[in-house]
């Protein structure tokens, strides 16, 4: 099976969805690029190159916009309400701060407020997360915030294979979907089939299987947790590593089943701790698996601080394999 980067896997999913269904279109800042300039229109394909080549094949369905995040999300929501399947790109998840109303007060609530009589099959893609020394306004995960809003589905792929299958599911889904792409993973490769395939929402992936500790990790924390767990095998410690893949819906059953078997839980996310996914999963375990737990739950996440710029500071800020290892050992102490 061919190896592809996560960027190429997402790009391939977009091309295949566009080819299959002419109601699919992409919209965002520089998704084509160079409009109105001396350069070749379409030569940018998004700042991370994820929409590369789409304009060249479907110029009418590759819509470059001004820097207007509210209008981008609103346009996607409105087009979806009348039957299109837009895939909008918001360059950085942090820019949700600019367009949050259109996401949480508009597209998330149409169906409910309209008594179940509307569909809003829009996908909003974001680059997300830290690791680029991009500082406080270009490094946030944000998916943990958006998970709290009913009406939205929230996807966080951790590898190229999942990214393609989950994006194709997202585009076919009739509810609004937020799709967060950990940007440090764009260049990471995995085996990715050429043909179209989908991965169901709400179905966690068991990345590793073991007996001693349940580790739940999200997005770019999944490969870090896998590295920690693989190293611990030499010490005779084996762990379940669960990648929920979608934070809404969440595969509670998989997590609870694993805790039932191991009795120990470590939850890993790159976002700060308050009202985040690690607390959410810890709460789930305390509520529904308390009698299975053999000791305290450990949360591994960023501190209650903005993301710093300096590489040394960001390395200290983000969870890494060492912190995950320490947490796993702490549950066994």
């Amino acid at each position: 099976m061919p190896e592809k980067t996560m960027r190429d896997a997402i790009n391939e999913a977009l091309h295949q969805a566009m080819e299959q269904d002419d109601s699919v279109f992409v919209i965002g800042e520089d998704v084509a690029g160079c409009n109105g300039s001396a350069g070749d229109v379409g030569s940018v394909g998004g700042v991370f190159g994820v929409t590369s080549g789409i304009y060249n094949r479907w110029p009418d369905r590759c819509v470059d916009t001004p820097i207007s995040e509210s209008a981008i999300v609103g346009a996607a929501a409105g087009a979806a309400l009348v039957g299109m399947r837009p895939v909008a790109e918001i360059m950085f998840a942090d820019f949700i701060g600019v367009c949050m109303d259109q996401i949480v007060n508009q597209m998330a609530k149409f169906r409910y407020m309209f008594g179940g009589k509307s569909r809003c099959p829009a996908v909003i893609r974001f680059s997300a997360g830290g690791g680029f020394s991009a500082a406080g306004q270009h490094s946030q995960a944000m998916y943990q915030v958006m998970t709290s809003f009913p009406g939205l589905k929230v996807v966080v792929p951790s590898n190229a294979y999942d990214a393609k299958g989950l994006l194709l599911t997202a585009i076919q889904d009739d509810d609004p979907v937020l799709f967060f792409e950990p940007k440090v993973l764009y260049q990471e490769t995995a085996e990715v089939p050429d043909e179209m395939y989908t991965i169901p929402f709400g179905q966690a992936n068991f990345v590793r299987e073991g007996d001693d500790v349940t580790v739940v990790a999200f997005g770019q924390m999944v490969p870090k947790a896998a590295a920690a767990i693989d190293a611990l095998a030499a010490e005779g410690i084996s762990c379940d590593l669960i990648d929920p893949r979608t934070t809404s819906p969440l595969d509670e059953a998989a997590i609870l089943e694993s805790i039932g078997a191991t009795g120990r839980l470590v939850v890993v996310d790159e976002a700060p701790p308050r009202c985040g996914l690690t607390a959410d999963i810890a709460g789930l375990a305390a509520d529904k698996a308390f009698s299975s737990l053999k000791g305290p739950i450990k949360q591994v996440c960023a501190p209650h601080s903005p993301t710093p710029f300096s590489p040394e500071l960001e390395a200290a800020y983000l969870p890494d394999a060492d912190k995950i290892t320490a947490a796993i050992k702490a549950t066994l102490a």
Partner: protein, 326 residues
Amino acid sequence: MSISKESLLHAYRTMKTIREFEERVHAEIMNGQIPGFTHLYTGQEANAVGVCAHLDESDTIISTHRGHGHCIAKGADVSGMMKELFGSSEGLCKGKGGSMHVADIDKGILGANGIVAGGPPISVGSALAAKIRKNGKVAVSFSGDGSVNQGTCFEAMNMAVVLQVPAVFVIENNYYSEHTHIDYAVGCNDLKARTEAFGFPVFVADGADFFAVHEAAGKAIAHARAGNGPAGVFAEQGRYHGHFVGDPQSYRGEGELEDLRENHDPLKVFRQHMATSGDLSEAELDAIDAEVMAEIEHSVVDAKAAARPTPDQVTADVYIQYGATA
């Protein structure tokens, strides 16, 4: 522009329906029968009806918090709306939306909207869909003089020009954004010129006069429908009620409301036109009045008798499908 007798009858009936709907809703709120926050459109009927006269069901509108009039003008079921305002599960939105979220997608009503200027970006999306599909449809967004100061409105207007989509921006100046006058809140003294500076034509109308709005909206909608990009309508007309029902309206000048009701009443102005032209007789108009009064009375009786929602419906319709999709 000549308007058929059938269209004139429909226009008057629709304006009268909006008027009586709103006045009855006001009364029912004061009686404690309708919960929540409600914003009435009374006095501005000619705007909604003059614009929507040019639209068919597959053209879209998106409205505001003051949305009852727009929805009725676009064809929303009056009885379903009344039930919705009463919070019945038989309401147009099953009692999930209420006054600020009346919607009927099948009739091209993309919703009233509780967020000021929440609508224009969404309307640009509907217009973009029309452009991609090349189906000749237009997307109309209604905004007030308060809404046009929101960044989302600026973004939507600029993007509509950049993308050359058939979006029509209807700006209804009722002089007050909540409790603050336009002379304070719009920093320049010429809102029409400011809007046109985005790069599209804006057609001005007296918002008390259905025929003026009809003509201006006709030009704007024809411009957009012909593929010339967005256009605007700017109509001035005060509202008869407060920002919300219960607003003490301390911002009103002496005699202001009386002047509005006496000298700027779209229904009276329409009747004056008919008296001059002879297109519709007084008897025909009176008959419509009686029919509308009966329809509104009927809708209230039905709404009061309609089924109430049950707690099991709280979590219905959040998603089309949620949970594992194996």
